[in-house]
């Protein structure tokens, strides 16, 4: 009986995923035909989301999360290592199902990865066996775009890499690879862009350039962006809202409105409010890090 119910549920889930892929493909074809504007940012809402990897559902990684992210917002999650930032991103992207609670993009319940919501990882996220243009054209081709190569070239132009369209990813530098990953994620015109420490593996100079590039891209394409980073300056520079996360179990400790007021790097360096906010966030993260560090059974593990 249980097996039959599970089969039915799996069938329903597969149908839902197929329907969403069809909708995304239709949307992409409409964009290509000029019937629809390229960007349609979505609202993301999390209701009482908890995630536990233990079989008995104890030791939650994320617990009781309530959150609404508005369409077009740039939201950043900051927090100590192991506080569940990446898990949260995977839950929103449909790669992990929450143990309890629901995630919705607009009104659609997230039960599996969907083309409405694409993700950029820190590294190793390109298909090494495909040329750069094929990497970017992967999404449009999967969704039945009439000209996937043309679409890929358009996005490669946007990130300034059209000259490297026929190169293999292995020949590119770390910064260039991340630009390809961003172009690939944007090529299906997602409503939500998830970014898991996308510039974490880059050197300081490249990182700074990539942050500026991302801000420029946001001006032309404006999906809802959910960003994870360890870098407070990066969070203040890019975000509309910052969520500082608490650890063990992961949850929201504090919400900080940055409102994009720090987007002009050169102006904010000597700005007192910037420095105070930066110090405040660092103190919050330090508190959480110490909490993890000083757990009584830490040494026994």
């Amino acid at each position: 009986m249980r097996a039959a119910v599970m089969t039915l549920l799996r069938g329903r889930k597969a149908r839902l995923t197929a329907d969403r892929r069809f909708e995304a493909g239709q949307r992409l074809r409409d964009i290509a035909a000029g019937r629809l504007s390229a960007c349609r940012a979505a609202k993301v809402s999390l209701h009482d989301v908890s995630v536990s990897f233990a079989p008995d559902r104890s030791a939650a990684v994320v617990s009781g999360l309530e959150l609404t992210i508005l369409p077009g917002e740039f939201v950043t999650f900051l927090g100590p290592s192991g506080c569940g930032k990446t898990t949260l991103l995977n839950v929103i992207g449909g790669m992990i199902l929450p143990t309890t609670g629901k995630v919705r993009i607009n009104d659609a319940l997230v039960t599996a990865p969907t083309p409405m919501c694409n993700i950029v990882f820190q590294q190793h996220s390109l298909f090494e066996w495909m040329r750069v243009a094929d990497n970017v054209a992967f999404g449009p081709r999967a969704l039945g775009h009439p000209d996937p190569r043309g679409e890929a070239m358009r996005f490669l132009h946007l990130v300034g890499l059209e000259e490297h369209a026929d190169a293999y990813p292995v020949t590119l530098s770390g910064g260039m690879r991340q630009r390809v990953a961003i172009a690939r994620a944007l090529a299906t015109s997602p409503s939500v862009l998830l970014m898991d420490e996308p510039f974490g593996a880059l050197d300081a100079q490249t990182r700074s350039i990539m942050q500026e590039e991302l801000l420029k891209l946001r001006r032309s394409i404006a999906p809802t962006v959910i960003f994870v980073t360890h870098d407070v300056d990066e969070a203040l520079l890019l975000s509309d809202r910052i969520f500082v996360m608490r650890a063990m179990p992961g949850g929201l400790k504090e919400e900080i409105a940055a409102d994009g007021m720090f987007r002009h790097k050169e102006k904010v360096l000597r700005n007192g409010k910037y420095r105070a906010l930066r110090q405040h966030i660092l103190t919050q993260i330090r508190e959480e890090t110490l909490k993890v560090f000083n757990r009584p059974n830490r040494m026994q593990r």
Partner: protein
Amino acid sequence: MGVDLTLDGEVIDPAPFAPARGSCGHAARQWLRAFRPGRLALRLSALGFCVVLWQLASSLRVDLGIVSFRYVPAPTEVAIAAWNLLQSPKLIAHIVNSLSRVFSGFGAAALIGVCLGVLIGRLRWLEDSLLPPLEVLRPIPGVAWIPLAILMFPSSELSMIFITFIGALFPILLNTIHGVEAIDRRLIAASRSLGAGRWAVFAEVVLPGALPSVITGLTIGMGTSWFCLVTAEMIAGQYGIGYYTWESYTLQNYADIVVGMLFIGAFGMTSSALVKLFGHALMPWRRVQERRA
């Protein structure tokens, strides 16, 4: 945009110092760089040194207590035996029979090993149900399969192909499983969120992602297939390089045994190199990666 090259304050023309693209000298330098004659010379010298050591050990009948070269034929005797075999009308029959057995066994192992490996790597329930019996069968050597192979198959030819098949199957299967399981989950997640269906994920992400491991398995499998040839051709009645080696042993023609061994080694090495070349052709991105390493 460019920076002037100066010598004692005078701007000089860099053209004569730049490599002349398209010239014979440039082509020769490129060829030499690719060929790496130094390394090749070292390898050939090492091979020559081993043959000289072998010649000395055999002709001086060296006896080290644990290992003795008293009855080991010298390279000169082996060369004479090889020359006799090369002139023998049976040589072609030996080679053709062995090649057909090895390639039939290897082909079947490649087909079954890769398909099964991909499925086991992707489906947990199949891994749980198939991997335990396969793990039990894996350590059984080819020679232990001979009685069962004779009982199971209607002809000795099929029994021999089965032995070479068994030799090749496990390296191919296990490498394929490892290749599929080692694919970064983030790549599969990314492809699914980009809108790829099950088939696209399988064909465009899983298969090419596992290909380097599959090719490694095929290369090792080709080697072990030749490795099992003598065992397989112990069943044979007339022809095959393995049969020739085994027959030489029973007739105590020691030089012929070594000739048979060298033939198997040479054919095994060549066919493994062919599989590697095939792999290189299938994976152009790896060539780029190797060039940059």
